[in-house]
């Protein structure tokens, strides 16, 4: 380690070389290299965390650039993890960076997280957030939580030194149609930057022991009013007793959903004509879509499901695979015998593999 590099923080008497060495020997896993992951990775890398793992399987898209400031126009359609690794290595060649070019799943979560000291949950969906929580409880790893909704964000530290977990705040995962995500609801570019930086700060405090973490406290940040609130909450000991992962972290476990991987879907459409319902907003649809796709936004599905032919198979697609899953669930409720297939990972994964639209 080049001591000069970290001089401005090691001269802080509360931090010092002792804390710097703790950062250097730390292994941090960042789940998600998007709006939250980018500031977390950038600062932990700059500040000298020894080992940084990155989990993501998305590609950079044009609509990411207003908030995911590590990526440039030339990175569009490239995998986020590979792109982030290149830039982070340029930023700090002393960090060991480990790529996990996959989404975190029930099958790989325990193995991946097991190698790290702490986790930063920078994901963008509830199934991953509950999976991170349960895996961290099982493996006894603290994790830093951050999440946002349009102009607002939440930050906390979970499962740290016997403190509360995500399930102590929100015991059960909300149902698929309860809470919209950023793709549907929008997000102001700087908000994930603010929340992600708070997450990086919490990670540094956990690793070095300086200051006081947000364990047992939920920080609520409202960007519009610049109001900060801290809510105190306590541990429900039941939530620390998780011993195994749930069988399923998908929305709505009772209804199994047929899914197809994006590459398999593309093989099918090379040879056959299929019925494809694209449930994104008209604006997203106009930006790029399969020529044969029919656009019925998720929000209009209740009124317009009659426009779909239920005699044939119905493929459903959106941007990232979350809304299409909700649409499949909704259509299943309306047409129990329909042959519905969700295209996993949505247009993001399609653009990663190919081109035919």
């Amino acid at each position: 380690m080049n001591a000069e590099r970290y001089d401005r923080q090691t001269i802080l008497k509360e931090f010092g070389m002792e804390a710097q060495l703790k950062l250097q020997s730390a292994k941090v896993l960042v789940v998600g290299a998007g709006g939250l992951g980018v500031p977390v990775l950038t600062y932990l890398n700059a500040m000298g965390v020894g080992v940084l793992g990155i989990v993501d399987n998305d590609v950079v898209s044009l609509s990411n650039l207003h908030r995911q400031v590590l990526y440039s126009e030339k990175d569009i359609n490239k995998p986020k993890v590979a792109t982030a690794v290149l830039k982070l290595k340029e930023q700090n060649s002393e960090t060991k960076i480990i790529s996990h070019e996959t989404f975190l799943t029930r099958e790989n979560a325990l193995e991946i997280i097991g190698d790290y000291d702490i986790v930063v949950d920078a994901s963008d969906n509830f199934p991953t957030r509950y999976l991170v929580n349960d895996a961290c409880v099982i493996l006894n790893k603290p994790f830093v939580y951050g999440a946002l909704h349009s102009f607002e964000g939440q930050v906390s530290v979970f499962n740290f030194e016997g403190g509360p977990t995500y399930r102590c705040l929100f015991p059960e995962m909300p149902k698929a149609d309860e809470v919209p995500n950023c793709n549907e609801n929008g997000v102001l570019g700087i908000v994930p930057g603010i929340i992600g930086n708070f997450q990086a700060l919490e990670a540094v405090k956990i690793l070095t022991g300086i200051g006081e973490t947000l364990s047992g406290k939920l920080l609520l940040i409202d960007g519009l009013s610049s109001n900060f609130q801290k809510i105190r909450f306590s541990v429900n000991p039941e939530n620390l007793k998780i011993k195994t992962l749930q069988k399923n972290y998908d929305f709505d476990c009772e209804v199994p959903i047929n899914s197809i991987a994006s590459d398999a879907f593309q093989q099918i459409i090379d040879k056959n004509e299929v019925q494809l319902i694209d449930v994104r907003t008209p604006k997203e649809f106009n930006r790029n879509h399969f020529s044969f796709a029919k656009n019925i936004p998720l929000s209009e599905l209740d009124e317009r499901h009659g426009e779909i032919s239920y005699d044939a198979g119905i493929y459903v697609i959106c941007q990232s695979g979350v809304r299409s899953r909700k649409a499949v669930e909704k259509l299943k409720g309306l047409h129990a015998n329909a042959n519905l297939i969700n295209v996993e990972g949505g247009m993001n994964q399609i653009s990663k593999h190919a081109i035919k639209y």
């Binding site: 709006g35 999440a147 909704h149 609130q229 909450f233």
Partner: protein, 80 residues
């Protein structure tokens, strides 16, 4: 009694806070407040997972409310 709304709760009600004034029929407990919100805004009923804080402290449904309380309605948010 002031009620602060976050996330989707703010979107459902259409504002970030509201007050129960002297003379209004005040909810006596957290569960009564939730019931009132469900009655006035049916979309509230869809929120199965909702944290409530009274005076910056997480509160269960049975928590009794009094008139100077500040209540925060905090739905989970997932964005990243």
């Amino acid at each position: 009694m002031e009620v602060l709304l976050f996330g989707i709760a703010k979107d459902i009600v259409g504002r970030s806070s509201f007050r129960f004034e002297e003379g209004d029929e005040m909810p006596k407990s957290v569960s009564e407040l939730k019931q009132k919100l469900n009655n006035s805004f049916p979309d509230f009923g869809k929120l199965s997972s909702l944290a409530v804080a009274v005076n910056s402290e997480y509160a269960e449904d049975a928590k009794i409310l009094s008139k100077g309380d500040e209540i925060a309605i905090i739905p989970p948010v997932s964005g990243g």
